[in-house]
Every structure is written in structure tokens, then in C-alpha cells.
Symmetry: C2
Subunit: 207 residues, 2 copies
Amino acid sequence: MRVLITSGPTREPLDPVRFLTNGSSGRMGIALAEAVLRSGGEAVVVSGPITHQYPTGAEVHRIETTQQMLEKCTELFPSCDGVIGAAAPCDFKPVQYSDQKLTKAESDGELLLRLVPTPDILAGLGRIKKPYQWIVGFALETQHGKEHALEKLHRKNCDFVALNDPSSIDNTQAKLEIFDVHGNRVALLHGMKSDVAAELLKIALRK
Amino acid sequence: MRVLITSGPTREPLDPVRFLTNGSSGRMGIALAEAVLRSGGEAVVVSGPITHQYPTGAEVHRIETTQQMLEKCTELFPSCDGVIGAAAPCDFKPVQYSDQKLTKAESDGELLLRLVPTPDILAGLGRIKKPYQWIVGFALETQHGKEHALEKLHRKNCDFVALNDPSSIDNTQAKLEIFDVHGNRVALLHGMKSDVAAELLKIALRK
């Protein structure tokens, strides 16, 4: 069993100093990599910049932007049995990147930043998924949770989607509601990310 | 001797998940706090979110945004002999904050983000500086380094300014050019942040 795990945030730079991101710590990705290794599988991690350590034995690929995460995952997914999309990729990026640091003086007050959506990583993998492969998506929502989560599940060709909320970000605990393709809630996982990750992996392998 | 140190990045949120920030690790602030403590002084740190640890004995105040950093520093500066502005505060923030996570579906493609400058922390402290107090600013520049650094020194009422470039961000080493109010380069410090911090503190205390 070879499992691809996306983990951590991505960064979308405005200039050599500033970027758009989120507070993802990569702890869920670390916990999932540990769960895969404990079960005897190979953990292949594509990770944005985080300061915590992945377990020894995991195959870790470091990237910065969402586009880079997509490219690396597209390259690695065909050799894996499934993917768990635990990363929090930045889903907007500045249209323009400034080679030089934007300064207050130059910008003369207000700055108008045009953002465009970044490519959707799991949707990209969903399009090349083989019948034997499985995909578990994550949906982090602040409203209409189940509805948004199931929309994502179908659009991204996932087998399961794990719904959570911003309280899970940079937390040692997680609370996940797991839905299947029929819209059934197959589990409510609540506790330390290490325990939640182990349960989530079991569910993924049911497919 | 009681020294105020600003440290780390700040975050400017768009919504409950996304924010604008930079890659500052807080390592220079940590090194400065250690240098102050080693010299027998009190280290008062106002820090944005970082994962590295401040030394035991430092008085650490945690904040998230630039406005919060300004407020905390304005409160603490009158009780200090000087301040070293080693933080990398985010100097633009979104005009609007969305209570709910902005979604790709709702935003229908492009998102226009209006950013306004955040308050300048050291300039704020420069306005309330007493004659016995000193201020060391940092300037992180990608072009016109000395010119921009000296403009900042004067506008912020600093006694010294430390010029560096993006290579210092999230690095264990630093390379700083130190300029005084006359525009003279009084030092070039290059090496481990712990050594650079100790030298920078000595220069600050010359005032």
C-alpha cells in the first residue's frame, strides 16, 4: 500500500517578502503519514512549508505554491493506491508577482490586489483516478458544511470527504465528519489527530 | 536596562482561514532577547505567531496583527530604555474582513482585494520617544537599500537602522549593514543571528 498525503499550507507570493497563506501546521499530514507507516504502508507526502517534522521513513516532497503541489501530486499519484488531501492549499493567488518588494511609498496608500483561483489539486487527481484508486478530500467550512463538503466530494471525484472547521487549524486535536459518495455520514471522528488519522485511514481503505 | 523587542511576522486576515503574512521566523528576535538577558537586562518581546521558543526569562507578549503589535508596543515602550524593531510586520491589510470563508464558488473566479497600509509601529514609537530612549529599526529592501533604509530611519525617528535583504528571512544567519543618523555605515554584521544580535545590541547601547 502506497498512500499519497498532501499536507500543510501553500504560499502564494505577492513579492519576494509577502505571501497569502493560512495557519495550517501540517499536524494532520504528519499523523496520517505515521498511521500509514504503522500499518506497513508507504507514506508519500507532498508538503508546504511547515516547521514540525515528518516521521522518518516517510517520502517527503517539499513545495511552496499550490501549482507546485498540483504538479508534484500529478507526478506521484499514478504510483499510489490512494490520496488523502489533508493540505490546506491557498486557493487564490495574486495575478501579478512583483520582483521587487512593494513599498508603502510606491503604492501611495491603497493597493488593489487581483486574485485568481489556483488550480484544484484533488479535482486534478480526480480526473486521472483509476478505478482501483481512492481519494479522500478535506472540506474546511464556516457555513453550509455538509452541503459544501458533498459538492466538493462530487466535483473532485472523491470517495470520502472529511468535513472540519477552522478550529482544527494548528490544533493537536481534530473533529471530522466523514461523508461517503451517497451523502451518508459514515463516521464522526473527534480526538487527538494521531487517533483521528488512524481511523480516517481505515475508512479510506474500505473502498 | 529594559529593552523592547518586536519579533516575528504579523498576520492580516481576509477571512477566518486566509491571511497575508511573510516568512519571518522570529529567530532574530529570539537572538536579541538572549543577548539582552545575557547582558543582565530585561527583554520585553512583542511577538507575532512563531513556532520557535523565546528564552526563559523573557517577558513575551503574543499578538496577531500589526495594529495589535502597535497597541502593545505603545503600552510597553514608556517603561523601556529602547526598542529594537526586529519584527516583520505585515504592512498592508485587507480593507474588509469576511466573517465567513470566501469560497471559489461565491467569488466566481477573480477576487479583487483592496489593501490599505497598516500603521507603522516604529514611527508610532518614534513620536513618543523620550530623549533618553533609543530606537533601532530594521529595513528589509530588495533595491535602493541604503536610500530606503535612511528614509525609514528619519521618518521613524530611529537612532540606527539595520539594512538587510530577503535572504535573512527564516535563516539562522543574518547580514546587516548598520547606519546611524548621519548616514554613516557604523558596522557590517554577518554571521549567526546570535552573534549578530549581540553586536547590534552593543551598537544600540552606544547612544
